[in-house]
């Protein structure tokens, strides 16, 4: 885990019973990369949310297709790219939502992407209706040139 970028690739059936296995894998890798417990929890949860979305929305719970997880580690960050072969959605539409208003209406759902954004340092959503979705999220080990101590930001 020194300088060079290391890539880990996981392809796994898109079923909710695999979420725990995914979390176990990701949290172990985050730990090996040197993240503290706090960041490990955030990374684990963000990946869980992205994968749960694939299962629920892209594959509509049918579990016949796979979730593709690409994890890239270098000395200063961990990037996780979750890709599906699903139905896609209008990203702009989702990002426009105001969380406060939303909660005020007490609707179900709509929490996952908001959480991912809050938990990770960089998040890029790539999707269009009818196409596959890619969620690319990064957590930095080093912030402003120095190793992060504990919990520099909460989102």
């Amino acid at each position: 885990m020194k300088n060079k970028k290391q890539t880990y690739h996981l392809k796994i059936p898109g079923k909710t019973e695999n979420l725990e296995l995914i979390r176990t894998f990701v949290s172990r890798l985050a730990q090996m990369s040197g993240f503290d417990e706090d960041d490990i929890y955030k990374i684990e949860l963000a990946v869980d949310e992205a994968c749960a979305n694939v299962i629920k929305h892209a594959y509509e719970g049918k579990g016949k297709k796979e979730i593709d997880l690409l994890l890239e580690i270098d000395y200063k960050k961990l990037t996780i790219i979750v890709t599906d072969e699903g139905v896609g959605f209008d990203v702009n539409n989702i990002l426009k939502r105001d969380m406060k208003e939303y909660l005020g209406q007490m609707k179900v759902g709509g929490l996952g992407i908001h959480l991912i954004m809050s938990l990770m340092d960089d998040v890029k959503l790539k999707s269009k209706p009818g196409e596959k979705t890619e969620v690319r999220m990064t957590k930095y080990l080093v912030k402003d040139g120095k190793i992060k101590s504990k919990q520099v930001d909460d989102g």
């Binding site: 725990e20 706090d38 749960a52 299962i55 179900v108 908001h114 909460d154």
Partner: protein, 115 residues
């Protein structure tokens, strides 16, 4: 695999659900069923004790959102207690402390029904 468990107990007029383990999109239906059962028996004063919960994802929070309106319309509530710091942070990130009573002690959550 029993990665998540709900058990049920009563205190004064209040029903207490103790949840344990990992609450995610896979296990959320089991919490959903437990709450649905309470509603089916006209029980609307509910406290959820998070003491033994190790993990929660938005699917777990979604379950709460799904019932709260109905429960409050019946004069009841879901109150939450004994969350560890990590779990509280997830609720906090999503603005839930504005919508739900979250207490440290179970006693205090139960008390809130009796005022």
């Amino acid at each position: 695999m029993d990665s998540f468990e709900v058990s049920r107990r009563q205190k004064n007029e209040v029903e207490i659900l103790e949840i344990k383990g990992y609450l995610d999109a896979h296990t959320a239906p089991s919490l959903e069923n437990a709450i649905q059962e309470l509603i089916d028996s006209d029980t609307y004063q509910i406290v959820i004790n998070f003491r033994d919960l190790a993990y929660i994802s938005s699917a777990g929070l979604g379950v709460l959102m799904g019932f709260i309106e109905n429960i409050r319309e019946h004069g009841g509530d879901i109150k939450l207690c004994e969350m560890n710091e990590k779990i509280y942070r997830v609720f906090d990130l999503l603005g839930f402390p504005k919508i739900y009573d979250i207490t440290e002690k179970e006693e205090d959550a139960v008390q809130k029904f009796n005022r």
